[in-house]
Symmetry: C2
């Protein structure tokens, strides 16, 4: 009988070994994809791509078991040779090839010049050839940064006593009413795709006090803009026993600080490849919705057209205002008008035209919506009735409140938007591996 | 201007403070839900539920600002009082109440006796009242264990150089062909829900070498059994530059060992509440599919009816065999017949009726399917043609191989099944917060 014990000896050297000193001037083995070939005549440089980065290998005519013209970009290889110090090479190392084993061979040349530092092509082409375009070092770095954000979200919330949950994406109805839902037939029953884990995360506050989820949400919105996706990853949390809705903003601030620290520590390579400057997270200003509108109206001489709504241009100006006045990258806008928030939002007891809620703007773009929720059964029913909504389909959600819920609130962060702003991109599709919009369902 | 700096002073004491010695015989403050009330006459015990566990508080008539009959189960409270040592109380501590502030009040009594140690009700009732039933300490502990598994999966793979990805759940077609897919209309285009991230994770191996995803998958299977869900959480990874398909099994073994260690360290409370004995992960036996069938046929005197398939009963017997013969909780069954595996599975070059693939059985139930994939473009096209399948809709997937892919393979783990087996439950619905099956779409 064979047994697996969890160990596996690789016959190739690790990245750390290749960059360290222990193998210098000795034989080393490296595997990777041929990222580019620079033929200088008697010598050629084969740049291999690994998950850790690019590594320079040197092909010297007559010293290798394969002719140079047998090699092409897109191949994957195992190369053996002498590891040498070379100041001009990336990481100060290069491998002088003695023996090549071809692991795999492409059938056709690449459709994009992925070895260019900046991919010189349209967003449309990048998305059409997504699995190839992402082989570019800058392109793929964006998604390491995204990984860092998600990791930070989870790790920070674990440290704050949150429990991770997995809630269903198929349901009988949506959390915010019937609009913008993808509908389908589930074994002959009408079903929808979840536009948010809102109801579920609230229900789970009654169980775990503090919960979070990182997962897909689906919005059938007919917006085709640079900041909308029809499927995106939502970072959601919900917490009970809050002292006030500001406690939720404090928790988000803590997460942002933790994320900045984690990126600095574990993703320094990608921050440098993408030339990202981490935003200021030590102190994040908070301003009331109505006050923010006044401030930008005054400073930028812009008339307030609708006192109950923020237009995207106004959001951008609020971002600009707080950058100029306070050198702030983020700003919390609080006390959104009640009529612009869902029924479960807690109205401000001091002025019920407004809610105990907030958005977080990052360089002038909304990346988070959050706030305190109604936890009292009677108040929730009243609000539903006052809005002329039906309770049908919400029985289980309402029952949770009927049997007691602590004061609570939470938020949802759009992962791709947060990533996009951090990267300084101007289209959210740049921050999504395989975006879904009104026109794009593939790849 | 107000600023958030990430700090928030809670006016209540932490769990650590309540269990420590620094507050003994002093005033302490605690918040929680009234889990149960035991009225002994002059004295009543109010057991409060917090995310960390249950805490005993003592109500002494005449010493509290509220009459006892105003208190009921399901309320959430802030209580102030004197923290005392009490050997008979859980954690050896109790709080003698001086002042109660009611945070929230239920409208109706609970429909289930959640304060019982074991919820004395049917699975059907538990699922119908899911948000309430989960308030039971044993019930909710199951999902802390589940959290530990997912955490371990991610943390172990991060440590092994994997990148986390988020792939779309809405697509133009499925990874394994047209059967068992939920179909719907996506802005007037036919779309399906992803039954697996298979194609995407393979495509991303060309970018990051090693990738993983933890997310929902959707199967429109008309199975109504104790081990099937129509939506579940899949733990997927895919790795390039593998030496052989056994390397994938070694990686999974490493994850299982890491998970066992993490659960022991961070989830000891829940392991003890649920009386879970961690399975043996030091050495996991691996047996060929055909050999496994022979072994159980011989030992349990069972005729082999179909040499190309494993029936659930046979899986159970293989689990029993390896428990009896090797004291093994897990067993890898390798070399599944080619006709039972999808087109992208790599056939065994030594006998192409079989594949370089495996399932992992845990106490006789399949919890993982994995294996090496075809990485050569021509071979992939041949296999598709040989199966009489169409390439239509798979162009982007195939193009990835056309432009070069390393040898690779991976696996998918059913999170709920793995949790179910670890818990010793006999229905997978016990290990899913809000299960979706042919009859259940709510809550």
């Amino acid at each position: 009988m064979e047994f697996l014990d969890g160990r596996w000896e690789k016959k190739v050297n690790t990245w750390e070994e290749l960059l360290g000193n222990s193998l210098l001037n000795q034989e080393a083995v490296l595997e990777g994809a041929v990222h580019s070939i620079r033929n200088m005549g008697d010598v050629a440089f084969l740049i291999l791509r690994r998950r850790e980065g690019l590594f320079q290998t040197v092909y010297e005519s007559g010293k290798v078991n394969l002719p140079l013209h047998d090699l092409k970009e897109g191949m994957t290889l195992q190369v053996k040779g002498c590891l040498q110090s070379e100041e001009r090479a990336p990481h100060g190392r290069e491998l002088h090839i003695r023996e090549i084993t071809v692991l795999s061979c492409p059938a056709e040349p690449l459709p994009l010049a992925i070895d260019k530092w900046k991919l010189d092509t349209s967003l449309e082409a990048k998305l059409n050839f997504r699995p190839i375009a992402l082989r570019n070092i800058r392109e793929r770095s964006k998604f390491k940064i995204q990984e860092g954000i998600v990791r930070a979200f989870r790790d920070y919330l674990y440290s704050q006593g949150f429990t991770e949950i997995h809630t269903p994406k198929i349901g009988a109805r949506g959390a915010e009413g019937g609009a913008n839902l993808f509908k389908f037939s589930y074994f002959h029953k009408p079903a929808v795709l979840a536009q948010s884990p809102q109801f579920y995360k609230q229900m789970m506050v009654g169980v775990f006090d503090r919960v979070f989820e990182t997962g897909p949400v689906f919005r059938a919105e007919k917006h085709n803009t640079k900041r909308h996706l029809n499927e995106y990853t939502s970072l959601d949390f919900e917490m009970g026993y809050i002292d006030s809705f500001e406690e939720i903003m404090a928790m988000e601030t803590g997460f942002l600080q933790y994320a900045a620290a984690l990126l600095k520590k574990e993703y320094a390579k990608e921050l440098s490849v993408l030339k990202i400057e981490l935003p200021e997270t030590d102190r994040i200003p908070a301003v009331r919705f109505d006050r923010a509108k006044e401030l930008v109206s005054k400073k930028y001489n812009r008339k307030i057209r609708n006192p109950y709504d923020l237009e995207p241009e106004e959001e951008a100006l609020i971002g600009r205002y707080f950058k100029e006045e306070y050198d702030a990258d983020f700003v919390f806008v609080t006390h959104y008008p009640s009529k612009k928030r869902p029924f479960y939002a807690m109205d401000d007891p001091e002025d019920n035209r407004f809610t105990l809620s907030f958005d977080l703007l990052f360089h002038g773009l909304e990346v988070t919506t959050g706030g305190q929720r109604i936890h009292d059964y009677a108040m929730l029913k009243e609000k539903i009735a006052a809005r002329g909504m039906e309770e049908e389909g919400m029985e289980q959600y309402l029952d949770t409140f009927k049997h007691g819920m602590p004061p609570h609130g939470g938020l949802g962060i759009g992962l791709e938007r947060l990533t996009m702003q951090l990267l300084g991109e101007d289209n959210v599709r740049e921050a999504c591996l395989f975006p879904r919009d009104m026109n794009r369902l593939e790849p």
